[in-house]
């Protein structure tokens, strides 16, 4: 049976070239980068090269990039670290209702510890309105955290414009760019952000490695306390192979950037068009214009997304309801709720995310099976309705 993975927003396979680059650092060049002998220097140099590659992908200087264990750690560090460093200045933080749980739960933690959090609304496409941000800023505001590209519906924010507002009010700006990396051309200097979270396993690098961009001069407290790694800002023996893999993945992403975006966008548009042509009562959630190139979040009316997901899985197709992080939970997606999608439509929503390895044949297979599965489930659903179930 054909296997089609359409959940590249949840995680990606490590590319062959990436794994190849990592292999020597497991058992041969395994030295601790903090040690002084040659075996350690080789590791240190490998980390330096990887840092250069990842920095380059987002237009940062090398010494502004700090490796973490994940996008989640980068988000936690940015939010809790800024809150702590600037607590004498104020206790107000602004974010949105559609953020990743790493941001939302860090903010909730701070809310329990004397901070005030404003959750900005979004429009029905999932975009933050600049005037809402402008109006929310007070003289106690120390941080604004707004994600670059949403993980569920793929909506892209106008980060440059939002940064312009915070800059004029002297407020620190953080963006979770985990979903943006590799899918949107990023330049931290042009955007004007102070902090940016990114992750390796969304761009065909390994899991367990992320990074936080911290603009030079930004005052931030440490999150991971211990040894003097990462220029004394993030403790813990470096995840050498993870860093090397992230570096190679970033290099490939930068090289392939335009091809990747063009290819994935075309396949995604083809997929959406086919779904709309062949299946009735479907809706595209999010924005058509400001959208992650590989994302299609679609509501299929009158059926449960979870049932579809399991059916499709039996047919070799991997897709997701909402974000992978919360897919094991039954609460309706907080993102779709914020977009104003009615709860019954939320339950009929599926997220398809297309990646580098996806082919047109994969999409055709998924469309064929989707048509069958939707028909089957709607038949059951209408029978249920007729019987008054």
């Amino acid at each position: 049976m054909r296997q089609v993975y359409l959940d590249y927003a949840a995680t990606t396979p490590v590319k062959e070239e990436v794994l190849k680059e990592m292999i020597p650092f497991f058992s041969e060049n395994f030295g601790n980068p903090s040690s002084l002998y040659t075996k350690g220097s080789a590791s240190k140099e490998a980390i330096m090269i990887a840092r250069r590659k990842v920095s380059s992908l987002i237009g940062a200087d090398e010494n502004e990039l700090f490796f973490t264990s994940s996008g989640t750690e980068a988000d936690d560090w940015a939010i809790i670290g800024i809150a702590d460093a600037l607590k004498s200045k104020g206790n107000h933080i602004i974010t949105t209702g559609i953020e990743h749980h790493a941001v939302l739960h860090s903010c909730e933690y701070l809310a329990k510890n004397g901070y005030e959090i404003t959750f900005l609304p979004v429009d029905k496409e999932g975009r933050v309105r600049a005037e809402d941000l402008e109006n929310a800023i007070t003289d106690k505001t120390i941080l604004v955290s707004i994600m670059y590209v949403n993980n569920e519906v793929g909506t892209i924010q106008d980060i440059k414009e939002l940064c312009r507002i915070t800059k004029s009010k002297n407020v620190v700006f953080h963006t979770d760019a985990v979903q943006a990396l590799g899918n949107v051309k990023i330049n931290v200097k042009e955007l004007g952000v102070d902090l940016m979270s990114i992750s390796g396993h969304k761009i065909y690098g390994p899991k367990g490695i992320g990074a936080l961009y911290i603009k030079r001069g930004t005052k931030i407290s440490d999150f991971m306390h211990g040894g003097a790694q990462e220029n004394k800002k993030r403790a813990g023996t470096e995840n050498l192979t993870g860093i090397v893999g992230f570096g190679k993945a970033a290099e490939l992403a930068e090289l392939n950037s335009e091809n990747h975006i063009t290819k994935v966008t075309e396949l995604r548009n083809y997929f959406i068009d086919q779904v709309f042509e062949k299946i009735d009562d479907v809706f595209l959630n999010g924005s058509r214009e400001f959208r992650h190139p590989g994302n299609a979040n679609i509501t299929f009316e009158f059926i449960e997304g979870e049932a579809m997901l399991l059916y499709l899985d039996l047919l070799g197709i991997s897709v997701s309801t909402g974000s992978a992080c919360s897919s094991a939970s039954l609460t309706p997606s907080h993102v779709l709720t914020c977009l104003g999608v009615p709860v019954e439509k939320i339950h009929g929503s599926l997220r398809f995310t297309i990646g580098d390895p996806t082919t047109k044949e994969d999409i055709d297979y998924v469309i064929e099976k989707l048509v069958e599965v939707v028909a089957k489930l709607r038949a059951i659903s209408s029978v249920s309705k007729a019987k008054g179930w």
Copy 2:
């Protein structure tokens, strides 16, 4: 030229069997363990198996083990998480002066945030006296954190006896067992600890993965906020390959435990005996009886450890001054300082740590070269002294 790595306490190479076990999870079975489809379940199952193996190595139940990104994260979580969870009960924490920086710096962070920290002294062998701990506990004490095996001098504490004291006073006990894992037989239930930090890359597993044992019923706040991973206690997409590798390394460590300890102890004793026989004016730091099987921390009088380290490196030998984490710093080892070693002797100290791959031929080569290097450096040093430099 022969290459001899004697810094296994800093980090270890990933064993062939471990890497072999990890490989399929990079690019084939790469699914996000939090997703609901089959590809995700395979990852979830691999994590379950690894958790069982790591738990088994320390005698814990599977649901008491939480994967982290490192031993440092486990230490930070234990200390900051307990401090936060029990802040209504008290603000006093007891630790020692010879802890890893992950513990010391977490305590320093807490000290800046209203907590009081007592640093217990140790005897000249590096052992904590039970009566010192007993006398330090007040009705405000919420946590005692004492490392199992010291990373620099290898001293093993009587954790069972220390736990008996904290238990009688209803105080939570955490131990950093990063250096103990695989080198001392560990059973958390027999020891009576409430929390234990461990790490993968010290037992021939990959870097970037650690774990915190949390005894069932222990009240602890989250450290990494975000998704619902690790039974909702530690957010962030699981480091799938890291976890699988840690699991395999733990399985091998448990299987080889006795052989490993016997072999390494014999080589270590042979090494120490040879050094004492062939080189004058040397001292063994730490305890002879309560000692990490592979550790030899030796002071060579009248010379600089750093100079020796660099000379040995040129001869293909990797050793360390103090801990790898602080080896790039010039401040004298805080551990040797606590043991009462005079500062000039601290500067002449080297840490040799023996591991599984070490052979008697390796040791003979190191002894031969040590004799030469010490003679050479002492000659320069005596010339310098004679000239009044």
